[in-house]
Symmetry: C2
Subunit: 234 residues, 2 copies
DNA sequence: ACCTCTTTGTTTGAATTCAAACATACTTGC
DNA sequence: GCAAGTATGTTTGAATTCAAACAAAGAGGT
């Protein structure tokens, strides 16, 4: 564990990963470096298969994966394990837990390769420094935007998932996607299996519904392209 | 539409509602007033049944409901209407859309009584004022905490909902609740119908599963009290 | 051209959930 | 104490989804 100012050369290695992180959107390489120094970011390493964070821990740092890969997992009381996300360089994690004082982690993070992690103390991130460094404000705005985006994303997903039937989940998702892209003709970023996983339904059942919807004239689809017909039988 | 500094007496009427809002947690009455002036909050009124916000609009303001009641609703392309939340005085809304530049509202907000709404420009809220007013920092921290809390809440709900079977949804929820409360013996904030709605399952089917789980010795429950047995048959 | 792998749609019986009843215990107000 | 209302558990047939298999079409490599 060491601070950036003492090991400038390490930064070069991390910059490519950090630049991918939405937290640093709109900042130049130099500005990212300055910010990290200003906030007192630290680097830690974890060997493959080590726990980076463990459910039950507390943390007041938002963590950026600088190198390696990791899994966010969740285990329930009876040992059922669930993979939530897989993390790539540039991804960040633990941010909601770090933002809530004394929040206890409900997930664990395990390194699936040797990892290097940049830790940023949330309090120092969201407390304006006395030097009032010009990039600090931008960082705070980026953080808020990142949270807001995740909120919207989750909100939409819950809307789709809360529908009881596969058909309704599909219509909810496709309707939202058309609105988001501003056109009744659009591509989705999923293949059939991924879409089924996203909506938490069986791919087979979903395929059946898609066929029905096409026969009823509500939509046309080929691979990941969709065209909706608002004025169908109804 | 008018600014607070010109109409101080209006504030008194709103203080009770605003004090309930987590955005102002830790601020005294005077500090809330000072902050609202500093940020340039504005008040608007909407008559019953009017749209306060409409899907497709843009807004750069986080809105606080000061008086009255309203509904957050969502309509899909085929006219299916869905009530997302009902808003009470002290609740806030539209915050994720305000935090993302040029984000288009995917929900509408309709007044169900005559409403008074305090609008706070998100940019002025998250940009530190030159006077560096001491409460401004606290507001920004509160905002981030509020976003983080919502992220955690949604994250958990998605975890439960993504389970395919009623039984697994129940175990996922109860497991998380036990962890959150730090005890295998705990109360939940729902009655049976509310729990079923929260997990998006049928109350009857859920009741059946709860009975089975009790017969299998995995848990005991009476009304909203639960006791989990981690070392059951498995 | 041929083979293999992937993606998508279809089918089928079993499992699960839905929807609508009804029964029972408890509250609440009179 | 009684009536009406509410919360919870149970049952049942119908609708839906699951899980596993198979078919067809296309992509990619040799």
């Amino acid at each position: 564990m060491f601070e950036f100012k003492q090991r400038g050369e390490i930064l070069e290695k991390f910059l490519n990963a950090l630049k991918k992180c939405p937290l640093f959107a709109g900042l130049s390489d130099d500005e990212i470096l300055t910010s990290l120094k200003c906030i007192g970011a630290k680097v830690r390493k974890n060997a493959k298969n080590q726990y980076i964070l463990q459910a039950g821990d507390c943390t007041d740092c938002i963590s950026l994966l600088a190198s390696g890969t990791a899994l966010v997992i969740q285990e329930d009381l009876w040992g059922n394990r669930n993979v939530m996300t897989n993390l790539m360089p540039g991804d960040y994690f633990a941010e909601p837990f770090a933002a809530i004082p004394d929040a206890v982690l409900s997930v664990s993070v395990v390194a699936t390769e040797n990892c290097e992690i940049v830790e940023i103390n949330m309090n120092r991130l969201i407390t304006m420094c006395s030097a009032a460094c010009s990039h600090h404000n931008r960082l705070i705005k980026n953080l808020i935007t990142a949270f807001a985006q995740k909120t919207l994303l989750f909100n939409e997903k819950i809307t789709h998932m809360s529908k009881r039937k596969t058909r309704d989940k599909l219509l909810s998702y496709l309707s939202a996607e058309a609105a988001r892209q501003g056109s009744l003709s659009f591509d989705i970023p999923f293949d059939r299996q991924q879409l089924a996983d996203f909506l938490c339904v069986e791919r087979a059942a979903m395929s059946v519904e898609l066929s029905k919807l096409q026969k009823e004239g509500l939509l046309k689809t080929f691979h990941s392209h969709f065209e909706l017909s608002p004025n169908a039988t109804n």
